[in-house]
């Protein structure tokens, strides 16, 4: 289809820009081709205001059946490629059918848009927001232009944030008690904790703390679960003795984490786990996984 695009250049160029484009925060977004571009960042309840500029190429007349701009929130499941589920779809008519001779600017505004879900780019699922400008034409195809943007929603710090404390072990072999200071972490948080060795009868080699992300998509028998280890952080080197306590301090900022997503539009969920892994000298692994809740805290710059 590329050659067609090359051969039949669209008769006009469309530019979509945001009213506060200069001041608005830009965040990186990974495109399908692997390239990262900077796009505008919004949050729910914000008004999305901007303008669309249409500029016919070489002052050619463009006939159309109307110009509209849509704001779409889509969930794309990769195993179901090509199918988008639009959970949000707003339309603004920009122009009535007619002809375009010269550059024309259309302002647009979606005020206080409800965007409950965050943009997400996972293994099996993608959630994205786009502005789509369509110039409808007869006989020939519509001229369409997209502008992606990113939505992030901020949560206030949780009022209840319990400590995670647990004693686990293998009878007469290994008893440990671990403690993470919180169960809910914001994305730039630090995991502070401790591991007490109550009984050590096996020769440990080292101990790691892993951050794992579990993404489940689909529902019922078609549920796909994908687990990724996002961080592998060595906590301990060597064999501890009884009574030893090993500190944990893991900064989350270096890792690309998202908030925990619970059943987004019945399509997918993303959950985070802390996995404590102990490895003995025979490379046997002993581990204990604990779910943690991630949330996005409004960053005060």
């Amino acid at each position: 289809m590329n050659y067609l695009v090359g051969a039949f250049k669209p008769p006009c160029n469309i530019f979509i820009s945001f009213a506060d484009g200069r001041s608005r925060k830009q965040v990186p977004l990974k495109k399908e081709n692997g390239k990262t571009v900077m796009v505008a960042l919004f949050q729910s309840q914000e008004s999305i205001v901007g303008e669309v500029v249409i500029e016919p190429v070489h002052r050619k007349k463009v006939e159309h059946n109307g110009v509209k701009i849509e704001l779409l929130g889509q969930i794309e499941l990769y195993f179901d490629r090509g199918n988008f589920y639009d959970f949000t779809s707003l339309v603004r008519e920009l122009d009535i059918p007619g002809e375009l001779y010269e550059r024309k600017t259309y302002p647009f505004e979606f005020s206080t848009v409800e965007m409950p879900y965050e943009s997400y780019n996972g293994v099996n699922v993608r959630l994205r927001y786009i502005l789509k400008v369509t110039i409808s034409r007869n006989y020939v195809g519509n001229i369409v232009e997209y502008q992606e943007f990113v939505v992030r929603n901020y949560t206030p710090p949780p009022s209840i944030n319990n400590i995670i404390k647990m004693e686990v072990g293998i009878e007469d072999c290994l008893h440990i008690e671990f403690e993470y200071s919180k169960s809910k972490y914001h994305l730039k948080d630090v995991i502070i904790g401790k591991i007490y060795f109550l009984l050590v009868r096996i020769k440990l080699k080292n101990m790691d703390l892993e951050i794992r992300r579990r993404e489940s998509t689909g529902s019922g028998p078609n549920t796909y679960v994908e687990t990724e280890t996002l961080a592998k952080f060595e906590l301990m080197d060597g064999a501890p003795v009884r009574g030893e306590s090993i500190p944990i301090r893991l900064f989350l900022s270096p890792y690309e984490l998202t908030p925990t997503y619970q059943n987004i539009n019945n399509k997918f969920s993303v959950k985070y786990y802390l996995n404590l892994v102990l490895v003995d000298e025979e490379d046997r692994r002993y581990f204990k996984q604990q779910e943690i809740t991630m949330y996005r805290l409004l960053e005060t710059s």
Binding site: N206, A231, K232, F233, E234, L235, M236, D237, G238, A239, P240, V241, E244, S245, I246, P247, R249, F251, S253, P254
Partner: protein, 785 residues
């Protein structure tokens, strides 16, 4: 945990070093271009080389040092914010992003030290954080090196903090807390090394551990360098905490090293003030710990400290250092049941040395130490261990050396009791040491009591101890007995009465020594007694009545007993000489019958005991010499004796001997002095008789074709003639001399080949007298040569 070949280890080390160098190269590039991200990346990669488990501590140290040098450069970079543009606070977080713990912590420590220096956060919190985070490394070697790095890199900062106080003492405490914490953890890791690996490499492991001990000890060293650590902090915090660790770790290597380290690193006055605490830990260590060396070193240091100034000494008294040390030692010995005797005794030696240095005036302390030692020794069988014996000798020698005055040592009641526990050989050695000490210091032992004690001490030399069947070295025996003989001369009191007592005691002891020893000791004793006799003789005027215990008579009785004892040896020649000495002394005291008795003994000995002709010759000459000087005898007695003597002279075996003895006898009839005997007739008689014998001898010689011996006899006789001629003996005439000279000349002709030097000088003497003129010249004039 396989036994690793050294070759493989070399290879691994080389690989590690290559890895460090490789990453260091990129690190330098990153630093040059102020690229913080790359700097962190490559430094972390470089530090990952330290994660190896394959190297022994020594090799690991090599690798560590390589990385350490690079980290210093990195630290400089971190310090300069203008280069990387990241605040130290952010940097502190940034380095913690590293996934591997070891590189992460090395970097954290590096930034941490910069952070402390910047004072942007309380040092206390940072230090606590660092020391806490290091818990993550539980591998003994890696952990030790990491913590050692922490100690190293924070050291100058800590000393800074400790020194400038900054208004409150808390900062000092923070630094102290930090070091103590780090020290405790390091020690734990160090101790844990011992538990790793199978038993068969235990020895190797201990060696490896020793190589690492300084890493642990360095913490204590740093503590001692912090100025803010005053006595108060040391007493309240530092020492209790360190000792707690020492006691609790239950590891002998660690306990020994750390105790020693404490003693060496901290100032003496601290030790003195915390003595109780320090000593209390000693009995609590493992039985295998060589605590005696530790204590010895402590006492050594303290005694040196005591010597440093007089003011310090009062401190010692205040804290009752001796009592505390003494109790501690007692306790250690009590607790460590398996400690060999040598250990216990070594401890006592150290304590004694300490006492002597610090409290030289406290003899009771010395006694106490020795008493404790006796107690210990009596609880074990006789010492067999040569090292233990050596220590006992050291123990006993110490007071002697210190006091330069053996008398002091004699006052110590436990001294002989310690000696009792020595074996015979050592006992002798010790006795020799005592004697040498006395001789060296020229100590005079002046009372009978002391002499008694002294002889009790050296009884190993005086008599055979129990079953002394062992083969004695003749040389050693002689040396020993000569020493005893020397010692006898050192026993002296100006008071005759006391002196007599001394002599009696010595005699009592020497008598017990048996015939082997008498020849050595009796002469000394005899002369010692004779000295007393002469002394009494000098004061003769003062002696009144028979009540005085020390009279020459009594002494002579004693003397004759002593000499008589020699005959049992038998040692007639020696006895003879001594009798003669006594006779002379009796002569001085005007005790004729005593002197006569002695001479009688001499003759009896001569007749009955002296059979050897050579000995006879010597004896005769001695008798003649002694008798000649006697002036106490009545004419009758003297005649008897001289007659006997001349008789013996003439009956000697060899003619030349006969001849010489006879002409020597001539002197018995011619004594110079005021009331001297001048019996010229008998002198001449003797000389003539000598000539006759010489003649006979010459004839015998010519028959046997002997050498020119007899001529010498003639010349000798000529000399006698000349002597009496000069003395004015009327019976000796110039003509007789002339005649004798001619006789000699005739004899010489037969044997002209040899010119006799003796004769020549005799003739030259006559010539000289002739030419001298005066009375003597006139007298000689008539002699023609």
């Amino acid at each position: 945990m396989l036994l690793i070949g050294a070759e493989d280890e070399e290879k691994w080390l080389a690989e590690g070093i290559a890895g460090v160098q490789h990453n260091a190269f990129y690190l330098h590039r990153a630093l040059d271009s102020n690229n913080l991200r790359d700097a962190l990346k490559y430094s972390a990669q470089m530090l990952s080389e330290l994660r190896t488990s394959k190297l022994s501590p020594q090799k690991y140290y090599e690798l560590y040092m390589r990385a350490f040098d690079e980290l210093r450069i990195l630290e400089m970079f971190f310090k300069d914010e203008s280069k990387h543009g990241v605040s130290v606070v952010d940097l502190y977080e940034l380095v913690q992003h590293a996934g591997n713990i070891l590189p992460r912590l090395y970097l954290l420590c590096t930034v941490g030290s910069v952070y402390i220096k910047s004072k942007e956060a309380p040092a206390k919190e940072l230090l606590q954080d660092l020391v806490e985070m290091c818990h993550g490394v539980q591998h003994p070697i890696r952990g030790l090196f990491l913590r050692s790095y922490l100690a190293q890199i924070s050291r100058d900062k800590l000393i800074d903090i400790g020194s400038d106080y900054e208004g409150d003492a808390d900062t000092v405490m923070d630094a102290v807390e930090f070091i103590l914490e780090n020290f405790t953890e390091m020690n734990k890791l160090w101790v844990r090394m011992q538990l790793e690996g199978p038993g068969r490499v235990r020895e190797k492991r201990e060696k490896e551990r020793s190589a690492l001990q300084e890493l642990v000890g360095k913490n204590l060293h740093v503590l001692s360098q912090i100025e803010g650590v005053d006595l108060e902090i040391y007493k309240e915090t530092v020492l209790p905490r360190v000792l707690e660790q020492v006691v609790n770790c239950k590891d002998d290597l660690s306990q020994y090293y750390l105790m020693d380290c404490i003693i060496q690193v901290f100032p003496d006055e601290y030790h003195l003030q915390t003595l109780e605490m320090l000593l209390a830990a000693c009995p609590q260590v493992q039985p295998t710990v060589d605590i005696k060396t530790v204590l010895s070193r402590l006492m050594d240091r303290l005694s040196k400290y005591a010597a440093s100034s007089a003011d310090v000494l009062t401190e010692f008294l205040q804290v009752e250092a001796f009592t505390k040390l003494s109790n501690a030692i007692e306790k250690v010995i009590e607790v460590q049941v398996d400690m060999p005797a040598v250990g216990a005794i070594t401890l006592y030696v150290s304590l004694l040395t300490f006492t002597l240095r610090v409290h030289p005036d406290r003899l009771d302390y010395v006694d106490q130490v020795l008493g404790a030692c006796v107690k210990k020794l009596s609880s074990i069988p006789k010492l067999e261990d040569s090292r233990a014996t050596k220590q006992v000798v050291a123990l006993l020698s110490a007071p002697l050396e210190k006091y330069n005055d053996t008398v002091t040592a004699l006052k110590i009641s436990n001294y002989p009791r310690v000696m009792d526990h020595l074996d015979n050989g050592t006992n002798k050695v010790m006795a020799m040491v005592i004697i040498e000490s006395i001789m060296k210091n020229n100590t005079c032992i002046s009372t009978a009591d002391k002499v008694e004690v002294l002889f009790e001490l050296i009884k190993g030399l005086i008599k055979d101890l129990d079953s002394a069947t062992d083969e004695l070295d003749e040389e050693d025996f002689k040396d020993e007995q000569n020493s005893v003989a020397k010692l006898i001369h050192m026993l002296y009191n100006n008071e005759p009465e006391e002196m007599l007592k001394i002599i009696c005691i010595v005699w009592k002891h020497t008598m017990a020594g048996g015939p082997k020893r008498l020849p050595f000791t009796v002469p000394s004793l005899v002369f010692s007694a004779l000295r007393l006799v002469r002394q009494l003789q000098g004061q003769e005027g003062d002696i009144v009545g028979e009540e005085v215990p020390a009279t020459p008579k009594k002494i002579f009785q004693l003397l004759s007993q002593m000499i008589e004892a020699l005959s049992a040896v038998p040692s007639p020649e020696l006895a003879l000489r001594l009798y003669l000495q006594c006779a002379e002394a009796a002569n001085g005291c005007d005790l004729e019958y005593v002197a006569y008795e002695f001479f009688t003994q001499v003759f009896v000995l001569y007749e009955e005991e002296i059979a050897n002709s050579k000995a006879q010759v010597t004896a005769i000459h001695l008798i003649i010499g002694a008798l000649q000087r006697m002036n106490v005898f009545s004419v009758e007695n003297r005649d008897t004796l001289t007659h006997k003597t001349t008789g013996y002279s003439a009956r000697l075996l060899k003619k030349p001997d006969q001849c010489r003895a006879v002409y020597a006898c001539s002197h018995l009839f011619w004594v110079d002095g005021q009331d001297g005997i001048r019996d010229g007739e008998r002198v001449l008689l003797c000389l003539k008789r000598a000539l006759r014998i010489a003649n006979a001898a010459q004839q015998m010689a010519s028959i046997a074709r002997d050498s020119s011996g007899p001529v010498t006899l003639f010349v000798e006789i000529l000399n006698k003639y000349l002597y009496y001629f000069e003395k004015g003996n009327k019976q000796i005439t110039a003509a007789a001399i002339q005649h004798l000279i001619e006789l000699i000349n005739t004899e010489m002709q037969g044997d002209s080949a040899t010119s006799d030097a003796f004769l020549a000088s005799t003739l030259r003497y006559i010539q000289f007298q002739k030419q001298r003129g005066g009375v003597m010249g006139a007298k000689f004039e008539s002699i023609k040569l």
